[in-house]
């Protein structure tokens, strides 16, 4: 056991810090072109797709360096390393693992260069948690699949250029996991209709998508026909360590503490209230647990042991913290806490009240807490499936 970093790792951290200090001006000083310049520079550094193989334009970087990179970027509250979020998170890794040479040439560079934004077409109106039961139909006619059906809750659909789409190519199957096929579809294909949906925070980030006789050339199939479930599962498993996320949560905890320090409750400083102190300490306790859980899992990965469902542990912590921290801030600050941005008494520019309405992003998107508990109980503790 050893929490120290090697000389090379420390040198890498220094390099990242130096880069940040030279290329990340304070928010006020950033002009219109800032984001593009930033993206070009991190790309030139090889930090986008940091762990991806060099042949695809990645840096083949190690897990620890990747952790350091994410940690430092999160500490500096830097913009993302690329704007093709889902492309970087799982579409790219999925294509590298299952794609044809042509698909790799066609799609990977644009993901790395933030030129193309991807969205993820998994969920359907009748199939959310029970994802493998999807019904969106794709039929092979000659060299094209013809897609008919509906997707929903597709984050980023209103502004994405491509979608990774789960379809059903076979209906009379023994297991619902069979007969699923993964297609890569341009959002401007004829027959694709996007209808944005407003969420409780007032944003239109997700949408429903209708597919009517959409023609998808067979060369846009990712993996073999009927292998879509395997492709999806292994792509989702590509979510790497959550260390960058933990760093952001520590930053949020610091903001919360600052808020506690300037807040009065029943006329007395809130920071002296034992229940407030206990609550804040419990947040720290859970975030620290996420950090050290993450480091234990990272160590397993470095030793070459496969990570299976352990990540559900941190997902559950993340989900409860996501709800409780904002909720705590809102309650702590009473009627001022209710005010949104623009309110005279809005707390921290209304950021707490805003994010207190946004927890479903983390809590529901990507598998609900009940599903995570099923995963832990069934895969790690061996309980029978329900």
């Amino acid at each position: 056991m050893d929490f120290d970093y090697t000389a090379e790792e420390n040198a890498f951290r220094e390099e990242v810090r130096k880069f940040i200090s030279e290329n990340l001006p304070p928010k006020k000083e950033r002009d219109k072109n800032f984001l593009n310049t930033w993206l070009e520079k991190v790309r030139a550094k090889g930090w986008v797709g940091f762990s991806w193989p060099k042949e695809f334009g990645g840096s083949a970087g190690g897990l620890i360096e990747q952790t350091i990179l994410r940690e430092e970027m999160a500490l500096a509250k830097a913009p993302p390393l690329g704007t093709s979020m889902m492309g970087l998170a799982w579409v790219g890794p999925g294509i590298m693992e299952y794609g044809t040479e042509e698909q790799k040439r066609k799609f990977i560079p644009d993901i790395l260069d933030s030129k193309v934004t991807w969205c993820t077409g998994y969920s359907e109106p009748n199939h959310g948690s029970d994802l493998a039961a999807i019904q969106c139909k794709a039929e092979l006619h000659g060299d094209n699949y013809v897609v008919n059906g509906q997707k929903i809750w597709t984050t980023g659909a209103p502004w994405s250029q491509w979608i990774i789409l789960l379809t059903r190519t076979q209906f009379d199957v023994e297991s619902k996991h069979d007969g699923i096929t993964c297609l890569l579809v341009p959002m401007d294909a004829p027959g694709v209709e996007v209808r944005p949906i407003e969420n409780m925070a007032g944003d239109k980030h997700f949408a429903e998508i209708f597919f009517t006789d959409v023609q998808v050339p067979v060369e846009n199939r990712l993996g073999a026909e009927g292998d879509g479930w395997k492709v999806t599962v292994s792509a989702l498993a590509n979510e790497r360590s959550s260390i960058g996320e933990v760093t952001q949560m520590f930053a949020k905890l610091e903001n919360l503490k600052e808020l506690v320090k300037v807040t009065y409750k029943q006329g007395k400083p809130a920071q002296e209230d034992p229940s407030v102190r206990r609550k804040v300490a419990q947040f720290e306790m859970k975030i620290a647990a996420m950090k050290y859980n993450g480091l234990r899992y990272l160590t397993k990965q470095i030793k070459g042991e496969p990570l299976t469902s352990e990540t559900s542990v941190n997902k559950l912590h993340r989900a409860s913290l996501e709800i409780e921290m904002d909720d705590f801030a809102v309650e702590l600050t009473g009627q001022a806490g209710l005010q949104l941005r623009g309110g005279d008494a809005a707390v921290d520019g209304g950021s707490w009240s805003k994010s207190a309405l946004n927890w479903p992003n983390v809590v529901i998107g990507g598998g609900t807490p009940n599903i995570q508990r099923n995963i832990i109980a069934e895969r790690l503790l061996g309980m029978p499936k329900d």
Binding site: M1, D2, F3, D4, Y5, E9, I64, T67, K257, V260, K261, Q271, P274, R277, R278, V280, A281, Q282, E284, M285, K286, A288, A289, M290, Y292, N293, L295, R296, L298, T299, K300, I302, K303, E310, V313, L316, H317, N370, Q372, R373, N374, I376, A377, E378, L380, L381, G382, M383, P384, K385, D386
Partner: protein, 366 residues
């Protein structure tokens, strides 16, 4: 960066777990805890295996290892609720190493390293207060040595120790008085957990020699408290894992309404939550164990995060472990209840969650 155990540490863990299964299995644990919690032959055996001198430098006959290795032993021993005073003995060794003079170390450590002298440490005299003021026992100068005063009402494993290190207020501040079991009056006290014997120790009027008093700073007191909380947390990791396994196995076998109860989400989700909590305080405990030797600056916060989490989480794991079994879990014959009792014992020991979380808040700037 490597948050894993070495090959040696994994072997040590296996060895201790095997010892619990083969040599000190549950029926033996029950016998021992009914008769005061000690077995000289077993103690001798683990002494020979080196587990009692883990923290003691080789120069004094120990293995010269670190607290993280001690954590491994305590965790593994607690999977079988080992009643032997391994934790108390380790804490007494830590106290001598941290506070005693070289002469005192040479005098005491070799017998401690082999286990020949069973030792324990008694710090606070208040039932629920971690503070120097919670030490009320005293030592006053008398002739060449000191005369002790007061009672230590809560000393772990006192009845089984040959020597006791007891915190007192001396003429020059805090100190540890080293006394032999014959010199003081030890009265065993019944508690909820008979695998963790507790006793009161009456010191009134006991004379000790000058070199039996070990001065202790407040920082040292606080370090020893942290090591105590770390030891208890390590035991909560092992015991928590054991009750979770016991309960998971039962949930797979017990059929109701035609299905294993582990198929019902009311059961399986509770088990998943137990797993999440156990994994999480386990990670925090290992980090604290590492800090004890490699980053002492960070120890207080790390220990408080770990014990603050484990105290309440393990308590709930104990309750759910019994509850998910139904009535059988309530029977004396079934082992689940022993783990629930251990969770009650562990909760206040070296600070409850209120104490530790309040300290996390203070260390975090509130």
């Amino acid at each position: 960066m490597n948050f894993g155990f070495t090959e040696e540490q994994n072997l040590l863990r296996d060895q201790v777990e095997r010892f619990m299964q083969d040599t000190c299995p549950m029926p033996r644990v029950r016998e021992l805890s009914n008769t005061g919690g000690f077995d000289e032959a077993l103690w001798k055996q683990i002494g020979e295996l080196g587990w009692l001198g883990l923290l003691i430098p080789e120069a004094y006959g120990g293995l010269g290892l670190k607290w993280i290795d001690q954590v491994v032993v305590l965790e593994a021993a607690a999977t079988g609720l080992c009643p032997l005073p391994i934790a108390s003995h380790a804490l007494a060794s830590t106290a001598i190493l941290a506070c005693a003079s070289d002469a005192q170390k040479s005098r005491w450590l070799p017998a401690m390293a082999s286990g020949e002298a069973v030792c324990t440490l008694g710090l606070y005299d208040d039932a629920n207060w971690i503070d120097p003021s919670a030490i009320t026992a005293s030592a006053k100068a008398s002739g060449e040595g000191y005369v002790l005063g007061g009672t230590k009402p809560f000393v772990n494993d006192a009845s089984n120790a040959d020597y006791l290190l007891l915190a007192v207020h001396g003429p020059e501040g805090l100190a540890l008085a080293a006394v032999g079991k014959e010199e003081v009056r030890i009265t065993p006290q019944p508690t909820m957990d008979s695998t963790k014997p507790m006793a009161s120790v009456d010191l009134e009027g006991v004379h000790i020699s000058a070199d039996s008093l070990v001065p202790m700073t407040q920082e040292q007191l606080s370090y020893l408290t942290d090591c105590g909380a770390l030891a208890v947390t390590a035991e909560m990791v092992g015991a928590g894992e054991a009750i979770l396994n016991l309960t998971s196995d039962y949930a797979k076998q017990r059929i109701q309404f035609g299905k294993p109860i582990g198929q019902y989400q009311g059961v399986k989700h509770r088990l998943a939550d137990m797993y999440v909590d156990l994994e999480s305080y386990r990670s925090l405990c290992y980090f604290a164990g590492w800090c004890a030797d490699d980053d002492p600056q960070e120890l207080a916060r790390a220990v408080s995060l770990a014990k603050g989490y484990a105290s309440d989480a393990f308590n709930q794991i104990g309750i759910d472990g019994v509850g998910l079994h139904g009535a059988i879990g309530f029977t004396a014959e079934y082992d689940a209840q022993l783990f629930l009792k251990r969770s009650k014992w562990a909760r206040p020991m070296f600070g409850d969650s209120d104490f530790h979380l309040n300290r996390v808040a203070s260390l975090g700037g509130l």
